[in-house]
Subunit: 259 residues, 2 copies
DNA sequence: GTTTGTGAACAGTTTCACAGCT
DNA sequence: AGCTGTGAAACTGTTCACAAAC
C-alpha cells in the first residue's frame, strides 16, 4: 500500500482560508488593471464588481490579510497590489518547468499570464528526442533525460505536467524526487505524491461534464426565464452565474492578452 | 444585488450538492478504468482510493444519487458507470464548438477526453481568415462569420472560449445570442452573461498563483514531517511572517507604495 | 464477517447587518 | 455623509460512527 499517501489539505496556512487564497489572484488581476489605468483608490463595491464577487466577501477576504483599507474612502490600489502580491509570494521569482510539449504544453509556454506575474519558464521538457532543441515560445525544448539537472540547476520548485495521462505519474515522481514540491497537473490522472507536495489539477473534461450536468437540468426543467439575451445592450449587465456556477471562484478581470 | 434582498430560490429541485457534482466525473473516470479491466464490483474504499477521495465522502456522494450499492459487497461497476453517466447527462450527445484555434484551441480540439465522453466537437471557429479551411484535429477551421449558423444548425448549447482575453466577451455575447447556454472560458476575463447561462472558468495563472502561495508557506516554516527537499539551494524565499502577532498593518510591511 | 447508507457532529464559507472610523 | 471591518447567523460541505443489510 505504498500509494496510500496522496492529497493535501494544506490548510496549515497561517490563518488565511483556502477559499480566500483562491480569490486573491482574482483581486490582483482586477487591481492590476486599475493600476494600469492609474486609478488611485477603489471601493470594495467597485473592486468586487470588477472581480466578479460580492463586496461583503471581498471585504472579509481582505480582513484576513490585515486592515489595508480606509473607512469612508476605500483601498489604495498600489498598496493593495503590493500586499496581495506579497501574500501570494509573487514578489519573488518562481522558476517553473513545463513537462510535455504537445499542443497543450506549447499553449502553456506561450501563455503570457505565465511570465507576467512572478513566474518564469525555466525550461520546456519533452520525452520525444525529435523535439529536443526545437524552439517553442523562444525556448529550446530539452529532453527528459535532463529533467533532474534542470530542476536542480534552476532551483525549480513548481512543475507543470502536460503529458499524456500514461506518463504523468512517472514524470511526477521524477519531479518530486528532484525537488519539486508544487505541481500543476493537466493530465487526467490522480497523482500520488508524498506528504508536503501540493498538487492542483486542471481537468478539461471534468469541467465539461459539470457543464453538461447543469445543461441537462436546464433542458429538463423549463422553468427557466427563457433568458433571451436581453441585457448588455447599453449597460454592462452584470449577472451572477445563477443556476450553478459552482465551487471555484467566478470571474476574472480584463488584463493583458495572452499571445 | 445592490440593495434589495432578492432571495432567489435557486434551489428548487431535489438537488445534488455542487461539490458532489464536481466529483462525479472523477468517480466516473475511475469506474471506467475498472470497467475496462472487467472488474465486476468495487468497494467504496477501493473506488475512493482510485479517485483520490476518502470513502466516507464517496458514499455520501453516492447516497445523493440513490442506493446503488450492495451492503457487504460493494458497487456494481457497470451499473454505477451507467447511473453516473446518466446523472451527468452523458448518455446524450453534446455538440460543442471551440472558438479561438490558437495553441490552446488546437490542444483542446486534439484532446481525446473531449470526444470520448458524450462530447462531440461540432466545429472549430477562428477569427483569422488565414486559418479558415485549415484542418485541425481532422476538422476544417471555420470563420467566425459562420458562428451563428453553425450553432443553430448543430443545436450547440456548449461553447468553449479559447480566444485572447480581448475577444472573449464579444465571442461570448455572440455564442449566447445564438443559443449557447453553457460556456467554458479559458480566457482570463470576467464574462458577463444573462441569467440562465452557466460559465465555468479555467485559469492557468490563478492556479499557479495558488501554488505559489503554498510554496511560499512551505519555504517559510518547515512544518512537521516532510521537510525533505524543501530546502535546496536556489529557492530560499524569505520567511513569511504571515499574520504573526496580529493583523496590524505594520510588522514587516515596508511602508511602500502609497506615497 | 463485510460494507453500505445516513443521521449527527463538526468544519469551512458566505452573507448579513451594523458599529466604528474617516 | 460614506465605507471598511467584523461578529453573528445562515448555509454548504466533510467526517464520524454505527445501525441495517447482505
Amino acid at each position: 500500500m505504498a500509494t496510500g499517501r496522496t492529497h493535501r489539505p494544506a490548510t496549515r496556512s497561517r490563518g488565511i482560508p483556502e477559499a480566500t487564497v483562491a480569490r486573491l489572484p482574482l483581486y490582483l488581476r482586477a487591481l492590476t488593471a486599475l493600476s494600469e489605468r492609474s486609478v488611485p483608490t477603489v471601493s470594495s463595491e467597485e473592486l468586487a464588481a470588477a472581480a466578479g464577487v460580492n463586496s461583503a466577501k471581498l471585504r472579509k477576504d481582505f480582513s484576513y490579510l490585515g486592515s489595508y483599507g480606509t473607512r469612508g474612502v476605500g483601498y489604495d490600489v498600489e498598496y493593495l497590489v503590493y500586499q496581495i502580491s506579497r501574500e501570494l509570494g509573487l514578489t519573488q521569482d518562481w522558476p517553473v518547468v513545463i513537462v510535455g510539449i504537445g499542443n497543450l504544453g506549447a499553449a502553456l509556454a506561450n501563455y503570457g499570464g505565465f511570465a507576467s506575474r512572478g513566474f518564469r519558464v525555466a525550461a520546456l521538457i519533452d520525452a520525444d528526442p525529435a523535439m529536443a532543441g526545437k524552439p517553442v515560445a523562444g525556448l529550446p525544448v530539452r529532453h527528459t533525460d535532463e529533467l533532474e539537472s534542470i530542476i536542480r540547476d534552476n532551483g525549480v520548485s513548481i512543475g507543470v505536467i502536460a503529458t499524456p495521462a500514461g506518463a504523468a505519474q512517472q514524470v511526477c515522481d521524477r519531479l518530486v524526487t528532484a525537488g519539486v514540491t508544487s505541481i500543476l497537473n493537466f493530465a487526467p490522472t490522480v497523482l500520488s505524491v508524498p506528504e508536503g507536495v501540493d498538487v492542483r489539477k486542471v481537468d478539461l473534461s471534468i469541467e465539461l461534464q459539470i457543464l453538461a450536468f447543469h445543461e441537462q437540468r436546464k433542458a429538463g426543467e423549463e422553468t427557466g426565464p427563457a433568458a433571451a439575451a436581453a441585457s448588455r445592450a447599453g449597460t454592462p449587465a452584470r449577472t451572477a452565474p445563477g443556476t450553478g456556477g459552482g465551487k471555484g471562484p467566478e470571474g476574472d478581470v480584463p488584463a493583458v492578452m495572452p499571445a
